[in-house]
Symmetry: C2
Subunit: 202 residues, 2 copies
């Protein structure tokens, strides 16, 4: 089965190709010669994932999917959520990705400083549009705690301060394959993978 | 959301009600005054789950789902699979459920006696039919090993000889809540739950 993955991030494409396995051939936007930015202006993960998938579907009229991920902190009423990547307010073309992540983490730790409740969850939503235009959403969640001290060099984003429930390490202390067994993204893509495998009429 | 669960097993109904949560009200066949047997004559888990859901949909024309589960052993080319509950050949009204399970386990251990490869997986398939007749399948898998010696009194079926990957205990040595975190059935119902929550137009 051929699917367009609505992302301009080639690293993400190869990671998801690995998660979905060889029965599914992902077409990148680069393969299609499409280099425009993809709009992502909604206020929910569901909205963003759908907006991106609909945008690409409107261009190519082929089966496609998009995802969006956020960190939802209980004591902050679900913030930074859909704004996770730009929480600090730094523009996305300012500095390195690593630097922007550190600025986001710093803002988060300040916001939680006098807050005993450190419950948080990572959530990924996938929007899938079939070649006939039917839309489906899939979700993956991992619950955990925000810790004060940054630990580990793996992963990205908030990984150095997120300890998933049942573990003593942050996501950034785990190898990619360890993280992939339990992560929000892996869970969402497992659901999506199984759904595609079992409903092979798209 | 109201859903008919195509099962005559009231224990299973309350377990699945718990897994799906309060946003979904399960209607039992008993609630509907329907006490007939549900046909289950296919040669795959997918086929059985669909057959059961289609049968109930044809009677009531409402959103409904059914599931089927099997133990698939690698060295036995996926057997007992769809025949897991009746592997020993004992009729389903012969003796107690416990006794039939022990007969099934005994047959399995004999079949694997001279077989170094003990890889096995439990697999659950859920078939869901929307009130407009659209059909969807969901899957949950847990990989593990068959062990020679029966251990534990919890659970049912092959649980006393199945050790899931990453654990040292059989499923029958785990509490229901422990097993529910990692089991094939929980995984399938998590996917189904998320799908229902996110695609709330059925």
């Amino acid at each position: 089965m051929n699917l367009i993955f609505a992302t301009q991030n080639s690293h993400k494409l190869s990671e998801i190709q690995h998660l979905l396995g060889n029965s599914f051939q992902l077409t990148s936007l680069k393969d299609l010669g499409f280099t425009d930015d993809i709009p992502e202006n909604q206020t929910t993960l569901e909205g963003n994932a759908l907006e991106k998938a609909r945008f690409i579907f409107s261009k190519f009229n082929q089966s496609c999917f998009a995802d969006d991920t956020g960190l939802e902190v209980e004591a902050l009423n679900g913030d930074p959520g859909v704004y996770s990547a730009r929480y600090s307010g730094l523009l996305s073309d300012f500095g390195s990705e690593k630097m922007r992540s550190l600025a986001n983490i710093q803002k988060l730790l300040v916001a939680l400083e006098n807050q005993p409740n450190k419950n948080a969850r990572f959530r990924t939503v996938i929007a899938f549009i079939t070649n006939t235009g039917n839309e489906f959403l899939f979700e993956g969640i991992v619950n955990g705690q925000i810790v004060k001290e940054l630990k580990g060099d793996e992963g990205f984003g908030y990984d150095p301060v997120f300890v998933p429930d049942g573990y003593n390490q942050t996501f950034a202390e785990m190898s990619l394959s360890e993280k992939n067994k339990i992560s929000h993204r892996a869970r969402a893509f497992n659901c999506f993978h199984d759904f595609l495998s079992l409903n092979n009429t798209f």
